[in-house]
Symmetry: C2
DNA sequence: CTGCACTTTGCAACCCAGTTGCACAAAATC
DNA sequence: GATTTTGTGCAACTGGGTTGCAAAGTGCAG
């Protein structure tokens, strides 16, 4: 019986990434997460993998534009699957993120695209990191 | 002859920070810098000070809202003097920053305020980190 | 199938920014 | 001047990130 390719494998494939076991694990973890994940979170979630393996898988994903990186200021970066329609070169799905200073989690505000600014002459824009900070609904209501 | 208080000391004073020698040094370095500075840059610039001293001075400044913090993704945060008019509680001078991926420097785009977004119900906004990335004019022209 | 080249992985070691404990120096207070 | 409080330097630690290297896995030609 032939091996049915999962959606995860298809996703890797569409980014020209050979789907090894480790890569599938990491990719699935990221895909199922509702929030962007940090290296160490992935490390904990997939205990079978070594830190360096996760690191290298993530680096590879980044090179192939399967994930993008965001800094929330909580010491270290987070990774999130790109949902851009074409999935290559430029991410067209960059959206606003929100970092809760109370529970220190990072939320995707998928509905809200990043507002653009017109930079002064000469600057070449590649990407934008828009990180709003404050209290998430849950933490705000606990006050 | 009486000790003339420098503008730097006045600035510290206005934020209720006792102006010690170290604090004046750090504050002046920040004030004179055209770009936000990292902990290690300050460390190098003021060789007489220990890393931990700079760190503690910066932490103090942050608590007293004399500086604000920004993440440019170049490993580690940067500090910048607040130029808010009242200088307390909320920074009203938050502006766009630009990180050059070539020379890895961070620029203040002072003219451009951070565009606001209306967050979903429940979120309480405190601050926004808006970091545009790409090539600065100098690096872009070198290509 | 077998041997060989290349890729992927795990381990251990390393790097470095940030951070903390502690003891001493400086300043403020009594 | 003695005592308390505050600030500082040193050294050590932490934790995320990164790399070298050798072993395991994979693909392919013969």
């Amino acid at each position: 019986m032939k091996h049915e390719t999962s959606p995860i494998e298809a996703l890797l494939d569409s980014h020209n990434i050979k789907p090894t076991a480790n890569r599938i694990l990491v990719c699935r973890a990221l895909a199922e997460a509702k929030q962007p994940m940090s290296l160490s979170e992935l490390e904990c979630e997939i205990l079978s993998l070594d830190k360096s393996s996760v690191f290298r898988v993530l680096s590879l994903f980044r090179e192939h534009h399967l994930v993008h990186v965001l800094e929330d200021g909580s010491d270290g970066v987070r990774y999130e699957i790109c949902h851009s329609t074409d999935g290559h070169e430029h991410d067209d799905d960059q959206h606003v993120h929100f970092f809760c200073e109370c529970c220190r989690r990072t939320f995707c505000i998928n509905d809200i695209p990043i507002p653009n600014v017109s930079l002064p002459q000469g600057y070449v824009l590649e990407s934008i990191n828009y990180m709003a900070k404050g209290l998430c609904p849950k933490c705000a209501s606990k006050k």
